[in-house]
């Protein structure tokens, strides 16, 4: 049981990394990014191809993460421009359609060019044993990376002027613009940053499973559920929700199968919307 829970936590942290990006892009840009899983997969596939080509593993992973960021930057400055011309619900709808289309295009292309990309990482110590429990080194490494990414995001949002500007736009866009803060430029930065976080998740995912074309959709769905349960405006809520749902996912997949697990997770999201529409931790943060 305990190894399954640990697996769940490891996986949940990756979900949180994607979910927090969905949360930020939604809070700041008013767009619900349905191609977020694909942002992640692009990072993983890039890293896999570079490692396959003989590049140093760490360098390849860094470049993979940056590829996700670059992709996010390009999407924000091109595909999403028509959506940004509108406000509120119209922007949300147009954004949904545009990013859903993008996810099909990316999946189709990856399926055609790199149908079976996989990250093969040889670590000097494949596993470590702590208190009688054996954990894969890769699990430890990806979890540490995810937690570090979260801490850095928190420090950026709470401790830097730019991070405060990001929060100010989420809270009151008119007020932010009156202070001389450009919502457009900050939004581009956040889409890029969220894509980088997704890239970290994608590279980490690639260490454990193959990067097939169905992974993108799967990651998007998990991340959306985590974002809803955690509260689309709360970052610490997203982290906690990711870990909890990761555990539920791992335990339920092991005992009752993946199909029913997805139903359980979606039910959790529905229940959250009914009981606490603004997320689990909405009143704490």
């Amino acid at each position: 049981m305990i190894p399954i829970i640990i697996d769940g936590v490891v996986q949940g942290l990756q979900f949180s990394l994607l979910a927090v990006g969905i949360t930020l892009i939604y809070g700041l840009g008013g767009v619900l990014n349905l191609a977020h899983g694909q942002f992640a997969v692009i990072g993983g596939v890039t890293a896999a191809l570079l490692i396959g080509g003989g590049m140093n593993v760490i360098l390849a992973c860094v470049l993979g993460v940056l590829a996700s960021g670059l992709f996010g930057l390009i999407v924000d400055r091109s595909l999403l421009l028509p959506a940004y011309r509108y406000k509120g619900e119209e922007r949300l709808l147009l954004g949904l359609i545009l990013t859903l289309g993008l996810s099909f295009v990316v999946d189709g292309y990856l399926n055609y060019r790199v149908p079976d990309a996989a990250l093969t990482v040889q670590l000097p110590y494949p596993s470590v044993t702590v208190a009688g429990i054996t954990i894969r080194t890769a699990s430890v490494a990806t979890s540490v990376l995810a937690i570090l990414a979260f801490l850095m995001l928190g420090a950026f949002l709470k401790g830097t002027l730019l991070g405060k500007a990001v929060r100010s736009i989420i809270q009151n866009e008119v007020g932010a613009e009156l202070c001389g803060i450009s919502a457009t430029r900050t939004r581009t930065l956040i889409v890029c940053l969220s894509a980088i976080l997704a890239g970290v998740g994608g590279v980490a995912q690639g260490v454990f499973s193959s990067l097939g074309s169905e992974l993108g959709v799967e990651l998007t769905i998990f991340a959306l559920i985590v974002a809803v349960v955690g509260g689309v405006r709360s970052i610490s809520g997203t982290l906690v929700a990711g870990i909890l749902l990761g555990i539920v996912n791992a335990v339920a997949s092991f005992y009752i199968g993946t199909y029913l697990t997805l139903i359980i997770l979606l039910a959790a999201a529905m229940l959250t919307i009914l009981v606490r529409p603004s997320g689990m931790l909405a009143y704490w943060t």
């Binding site: 002027l161 405060k164 500007a165 929060r167 100010s168 809270q171 009151n172 008119v174 007020g175 932010a176 613009e177 009156l178 202070c179 001389g180 803060i181 450009s182 919502a183």
Partner: protein, 218 residues
Amino acid sequence: MLREISLEVQSGEAVGVIGPNGSGKTTLFKAIAGMLRPKSGKILFDGLRLDGLHTPDVARRGVVYVPAERELFPQMTVLENLELGAYANPRDRDDQFRFVFSLFPRLAERKRQLAESMSGGEQQMLAIARGVMAKPKVLLLDEPSTGLAPLLVAEMYRQLSQLKAQGLTILLAEQQVPHALAFCERTYVLENGWIKLSGRSSDLLGDPAIKRSYLGVG
């Protein structure tokens, strides 16, 4: 709706805009701040055109709008709200902090408090203070007395007088006409989008039409 209006504010001057609800005061301010685009005409500041600029760029040029709705960041502390006010020129931030806290000592006492947890009067002070943090060349104050008790309004105008004494240029929209006329050297009277009257505030005080419609005497 505003039609064919022409206004002028000299450096260091406090100019008032008075008129009933819906006369176009807020429309005028939003046009200057870049939140609404005029269909025709020009808005000039220091010889450069402001019309056509986006709101953040107008603010960066030193024309700072403090709307009646305040538009604060509710879940941020007083300190963070002020810090963001100085977003465009962080170099002068420490000086501006000192100045703002000497002007509004109550904000210094409450600097760790969330903006949403403060009273209406304190929120209004914070909105003005956030505008001042930008070290503006012109401050556009839209109905700063909205929702404040009379005693607080008097206190706020004493604080605004200190700002004026520092040489800040102020354009003020106000429904509480006696306050506006006492505070501003010159005043424009707006009605249905037209400038009906304008002149020195002291002359307007004696104008029979103003007395009748706005001061409730005569």
